[in-house]
Point group: C2
Chain length 479, copies 2
């Protein structure tokens, strides 16, 4: 059992990779920049998928599937879109033994091909809104890959909706931003700031991009999900028109929104520690593990295992059949068995040995704090869910406090530089500069505007240009 | 509301496409041979996915994700594999703006890249078995595409397992064949014959291929799912070795098995009729629809709708929140509303109008038989599931009878030809010929051996070569 996780304080990047390796979450694939998501990692994605999907369906969305391959001419129909994505595309030039007449691009995102289909499906205002989501793989060629955070191929969902009015499309854009925010905070225990991207950081082809930004434990920002208001840009590029109630032809208003396997990277860099992964119970595929431990084989077979199996069945009923497991890796030493589950991030470990049998208690060890609680056998149905809820809340509060402790408000560029160099973290500042100013700040400091905060209507003096009417922005170095 | 479905008797191919179009299940994509799976079709795939996935997990499998792109050299490591698949591959030659050093193939199936990863993950007998499944898209360039049945890109699951012994791997191959059979019969109401493929029809690189074969309503066969015993072929090609309990290095034994979106084609061609799709309740995303119908707006608003909503809530509780819908398309004529749900294959329609309100009954119309049953308001919880179960069984029995009525046993090639030309269907015959004989039969008749039946230990005289010791085969023209 390897316990060699590099301490986070020593080398954050290596620590991140070591956590992934120790938990057997992912591996690099033989193709540069691509990854293999191993069962432990994939189970987290399945948990994310099923819970997000439920929230999408509750807000009226249905799933569909659009093709992987897109004619390269499609990308060119939206000027900013092709500029943004074509340098990252993988291109199919041969298929079925023949050279293709037109090269095909592996989807980096599907606005274009979905726009093409919507133009066929939408005729009348009665066909609107269209509220479709797709779970799929996408490909954006990556020169500096990093497991989960940046890989050439990744898994994601992309929602694509079409509406009759600007207002309705804007409302949808913000509704999905809120679905993301609440999912991230409630399920992933990931506190996020929501806001609007600056012009330079917008999705290529969008009128407006909204984002959820989280702070990782190295104080850098991670963009965890985005929701785009596409205006009529794609409707015009792909001729998505409908007859309105007055019989006139109008262009539709569209949105798109997505989150990806990157969220797994966010979980690691928010909750994991030097012992390995830490999973918030609400997203953990395995919420608790029962460990029968004793050197006494008779006691194990005759008393401990039967009791452990009884508790297993009782917990399955309240947590779900696959959400609790019984560890029977008796060929391993007890310490290695503890470590096995620590590294995989299981939120709660329930130990059952000779002492516990005598006192009819389980020894419950929390993954988040290491704290030990004794749970009476007959109280597992009450106490285990209560502990899990407490762990969930503790992880969220801890991450939120960390972000708050590392967020600073500055009013001058001098102060900005000082905070960035000495402390790091999020910097809040009023900004009224131009895209060129933003670029200059990025070149000088590597920090970028993560977003202009929503629900911050007050305006202030720009810390950089000293102009009035600055909006409250959050700056940070980012992944 | 278009009701123009070509009658099945007139033009089976066109009927099939019309059913798909009328139900809005799928559409051709702008790239030749690729399809868009629309929400109605995709919801069926989601239903298949979730129920199969549960059966995979019950048999000890976990999910993972392997990369879309495979170095072309990988395919060449297994001689038969490359021969079988390379003519169908789509090849990426450019990525990130540069020509690639080695072309990358979009996976047509993943034995090679998974074999490569397994060789890294497997060291000791303790690492075995590995029981992994993957849900993903694959690509096999298709010159004569047909929605769901043959498309260049399709969705599927591919299970890939590795074992310490031949016996264990063979057992797994047959276990998954049985998982497929029971799923197809119990959920899709699709009666299937299970058997072993002949040498010429095996998966490229397999030692043995097992299959589930179904009869479509045009009497042709459809291969609905396959399970392959790969022996040590891929283990040798990719160096998957483990140290056994005696400390010696051995090659692992592997299997693979898969079903695809083709199953949706099988559902259509087994159950659909001239009014459109017919879905077995166990796979239907929407099991029943409630239709409030009256020209009297007051009655509708004050009595009928409130009652319909009450029944909706009661049915949601027993069928699942998304499994029952209330039709409020009041801008459509009643006949068009009926047809809308007929075409989409909803198993049961519950009508609620003035007469029904008076008698406190729902008018239930079965999709499979058109039969009408009155259900008292207070009996919906009992009667609706009972009717759905009856519909499920009726569809299965009907399909099974159809297959039995169209299956013939022959003992000579003359008889074989006569049955094939005059009747069609499945032909059972003892066969002891060579692969060349099989080829000659195919060239003369276009019929192929669908499988040698399992559980048919008796041997007989070969209908073709007149040799003794023939095994019982099923021949048919196939999709």
């Amino acid at each position: 059992m390897a316990r060699n996780i590099t301490p986070r304080e020593k080398d954050y990047s290596q620590w991140y990779l070591d956590v992934i390796k120790a938990a057997e979450m992912a591996d690099y694939a033989p193709v540069r920049g691509c990854m293999v998501i191993r069962p432990t990692g994939y189970a987290i994605w399945e948990s994310i998928q099923s819970q997000l999907d439920e929230r999408f369906k509750e807000t009226g969305h249905v799933n569909a599937y659009f093709p992987l391959l897109i004619p390269s001419s499609f990308l060119e129909k939206e000027a900013k879109h092709v500029e943004g994505f074509s340098p990252e595309c993988a291109v199919v030039t041969y298929a079925g033994g023949e050279e293709l007449e037109e090269p095909l691009v592996i989807r980096p995102t599907s606005e274009t091909v979905i726009g093409h289909m919507y133009s066929k499906w939408i005729q009348s205002w009665r066909d609107l809104p269209i509220l479709i989501n797709q779970w799929c793989n996408v490909l954006r060629w990556e020169k500096r890959p990093r497991l989960f955070l940046r890989t050439s191929e990744f898994l994601w969902q992309e929602g694509h909706t079409a509406h009759a009015t600007r207002e309705e499309a804007l409302e949808e854009t913000l509704r999905m931003l809120e679905v993301y925010r609440s999912f991230m905070e409630e399920v992933l225990a990931l506190p996020v700031l929501t806001g609007e991207k600056s012009e330079g950081e917008r999705f290529p082809g969008a009128e407006n991009t909204y984002t959820c930004e989280a702070m990782m434990t190295d104080k850098r920002a991670l963009q965890a999900g985005t929701s785009h208001f596409l205006g009529q840009n794609f409707a015009k590029a792909f001729d998505i028109r409908f007859q309105n109630k007055d019989g006139e032809l109008e262009y539709a208003w569209t949105t798109s929104w997505g989150v990806s396997t990157r969220l797994i990277g966010a979980i690691i860099m928010t909750h994991a520690d030097n012992d390995g992964l830490v999973l918030p119970p609400n997203v953990a595929p395995v919420k608790t593990v029962i460990l029968p431990i004793t050197p006494d084989q008779n006691l194990l077979q005759e008393k401990i295992l039967p009791e452990a199996e009884k508790i297993l069945e009782r917990l399955k009923k309240i947590l779900g059949a696959n959400r609790v497991v019984l560890d029977t890796q008796f060929h391993m030493r007890p310490g290695d068995r503890f470590f096995y589950h620590l590294q995989k991030g299981v939120p709660l470990r329930l130990e059952l040995g000779e002492a516990e049998m005598k006192s009819s208690h389980l020894r419950a060890v929390r993954r988040d704090t290491g704290e030990v609680v004794n749970i009476s056998f007959d109280a597992v149905e009450r106490e285990v869910p209560r502990l899990l809820e407490n762990i969930q809340n503790t992880l969220y509060r801890r991450a939120r406090s960390f972000r708050e402790e590392n967020t600073y408000h500055v009013t001058s560029f001098e102060e900005f530089n000082e905070v960035l160099n000495k402390k790091g973290g999020f910097i809040k500042a009023y900004f009224a500069g131009s895209p060129e100013d933003e670029k200059a700040i990025k070149e000088a400091t590597t920090a970028t505007i993560r977003c202009f905060l929503l629900n911050e209507p007050t305006e202030g003096t720009c810390f950089y240009t000293k102009k009035k009417g600055g909006k409250l922005a959050v700056f940070a170095k980012a992944y």
